[in-house]
Symmetry: C2
Subunit: 400 residues, 2 copies
């Protein structure tokens, strides 16, 4: 595909509403006649379609173009440590069907990917979908990724996965490309491209689950860093004495992540005689994030305090990031984000206290609008992005 054709396609598919040729030409700084060639080509290839007729400012009404969302299907996979989510989306990243399943990431790539593959095949069968309509597979994993190669790089919580050729695994079963990225990166992509109702260029997506990480959008584009590890905020030093799994003291993750919250909850149950938490611990022998979430809903004081503490610590680190990166928008996602307003208020309070006034002048801090779908939608978005880019790199005239 010609580079300019790809640019036109990217612009149309990223737009929040259909575009006219004039709009495309102006944005890309190219003549209207040049744009027409590319639009015609995309129409012919069935990648875009004519949308409703645009509002004219006098004279003939301009035609508008939108992505043909039924061009093909994407399998989007989000891998967590003990769960996998699989979605089938259309070319506009809308989820058509969805399944989740237990998995142990520590079983290693052969076992885990084989099981995921079985689920995917079952999903296609159940929905009567022809394999040929699958145009790409996107996978988000909870660790650093060499994106160009599609391999995990020393992922700390994925033993056995280091440098495993995930793409090659899928190539055995599907005749379409597969792309692998870090889970938080694709959440950031999904939220930016499909979650927001307004346009912003600089977004940092903070995922707070067992661990804490972030995905960075600069000037509208995902920023991966030099070795693909950008966005790691879990090991920012917050000055505490708690030892982290990484070997250092004072990491944010060790004091404020999901795991930390659970162990603090246990401590409170036992040493501070917190009724609600102690009851659960006594009856089940363990605590979960969901228990703390439920306690929060009942306004159990111990749970409220735990969540506030965690929010304040995370907010302190976000304040530093806001000073450094000066984003338009901070998005809070991941499982703890479901804790809601008390958590968000604690984060905001910390950020406004410690960030410089100029950096927070227009700053928005919100929960993810896609919630737990951010990763799957972002995975599909990333995959389609890459399909288009790769087609350009290959300089081939047709590419799907």
């Amino acid at each position: 595909m010609h580079a300019m054709t790809a640019s036109v396609l990217q612009m149309i598919r990223r737009a929040k509403s259909p575009l006219s040729k004039v709009e495309i030409a102006e944005e890309l700084g190219v003549s209207l006649s040049a744009i027409s060639v590319h639009v015609e080509r995309l129409l012919k290839e069935n990648l875009i379609e004519m949308s409703r007729i645009g509002v004219s400012s006098g004279g003939r009404k301009p035609k508008e173009y939108a992505l043909n969302k039924d061009f093909g299907l994407i399998v989007s996979i989000e891998l967590e440590t003990t769960l996998v989510h699989i979605a089938l989306t259309n070319f506009n990243c809308e989820v058509l069907c969805l399944t989740s399943s237990d998995i142990e990431i520590t079983d290693g790539p052969d076992i885990v990917l084989t099981r995921i593959h079985e689920h995917v095949e079952q999903m296609l069968l159940d929905n009567d979908i022809d394999k040929a309509s699958i145009k790409g597979i996107g996978i988000g994993i909870p660790g650093p990724v060499d994106f160009s190669m599609g391999i995990p790089i020393s992922p700390p919580i994925m033993p056995g996965w280091d440098q495993y050729p995930i793409r090659e695994f899928w190539a055995k079963y599907f005749d379409c490309p597969c792309y692998v990225d870090n889970d938080v990166n694709i959440m950031a992509l999904g939220e930016h491209a499909k979650g927001l109702k307004f346009e912003v260029n600089n977004v940092i997506f903070i995922k707070i689950g067992s661990g804490i990480g972030s995905g960075i959008i600069y000037d509208g584009v995902l920023y991966r860093g030099s070795t693909g590890s950008a966005g790691d905020i879990g090991h920012f030093d917050i000055g505490s004495d708690v030892v982290c799994w990484c070997g250092n003291k004072g990491c944010l993750e060790a004091s404020a992540g999901g795991k930390a919250l659970i162990s603090k909850g246990k401590e409170r149950a036992i040493f501070h005689n917190s009724g609600y938490l102690l009851d659960i611990l006594n009856s089940r022998g363990e605590l979960s994030m969901e228990d703390i979430g439920a306690g929060l809903l009942q306004l159990d004081s111990s749970c409220v305090e735990l969540v506030r503490e965690s929010g304040a610590l995370i907010g302190k680190v976000i304040a530093s990031i806001v000073n450094f990166a000066n984003p338009d928008l901070i998005v809070i996602g991941g499982r703890i984000a479901e804790f809601g307003d008390i958590f968000l208020a604690a984060i905001r309070q910390s950020v406004y206290q410690r960030s410089l006034p100029l950096a927070t002048r227009n700053l928005i801090i919100n929960k993810s609008s896609l919630g737990n779908m951010a990763g799957l939608i972002g995975g599909a978005f990333m995959t389609i992005d890459q399909i288009i880019t790769q087609a350009t790199d290959n300089q081939a005239d047709t590419y799907f």
Copy 2:
């Protein structure tokens, strides 16, 4: 100027060596014949020149093109709190003459800019330079800037400068554009464009003077953030009890910047009876960064310890930034950077201890190769960049 002509010019001027049309065409993804049009136009306008004849891989030897560095002159101004540096550079950012002068930034913009203007006129007179050969004026200031407007935005250490129209001041005397940017931003630009002997895309320039700040290059481009305040690392929380001028406790700047170093030096002199520092304090009634630097050269143990402490604290914050931004290169600049190897070693030690292994795999941490010329060279680079960009925006055929 046509957008593509500008792209060709930018590419030629940013290249470390002259380029052939084939190289330009390949990089920009445009046909050779299309590139020829733009190259001819630039030659005709005297903006580029034919350089040495390139090495051929057989057949006719390709012509190579380089910037015409004598196209015009730039006045580059670097404003510090008590000093101003003024340089005259050619179009390749090479400094032709240079002067420094005392100034009190707190005197406000009218007094300070009038004095700077006198110095500039004197410099032109002394060097027998015609005003008409000045193509642009670039100014770096120690505070946040609305870059598109060219005005300081609530700069904390520049009372009276908030929203002052610096461009309009210069428009009274010069018939060329003026651009204003934050001092650390232009240092980062200068180092990236003209200091490095190797090519890297993601660079963070850390300036350590009285305060501490940073300038960010992502994917080869200066990143300013949403409100132009990106790169502020002086107020990262390092968990100390020291109160900062910003009102918060624990800011990096309050414990490790130049001012902090001097007050810690005084404390040591008085309470720990440190001979070297006490002698200076007794004889002059005050201490300066230069005194601590001189003590370091003599390996005075108090000075060594002070500088090491400062390096360790700064390194801790850089470690967080390395985790978050995953750059190729960290450049240490500013006055304290002149402290040399002891300081640099302390920073490096801290970074390698606290950053994630993947993020430091290929990381380089170096002193600025341009030293105290980074700001002036970067100011000229930024100015020429803007002249070219603006000419494109105006869509004018000729522009200088």
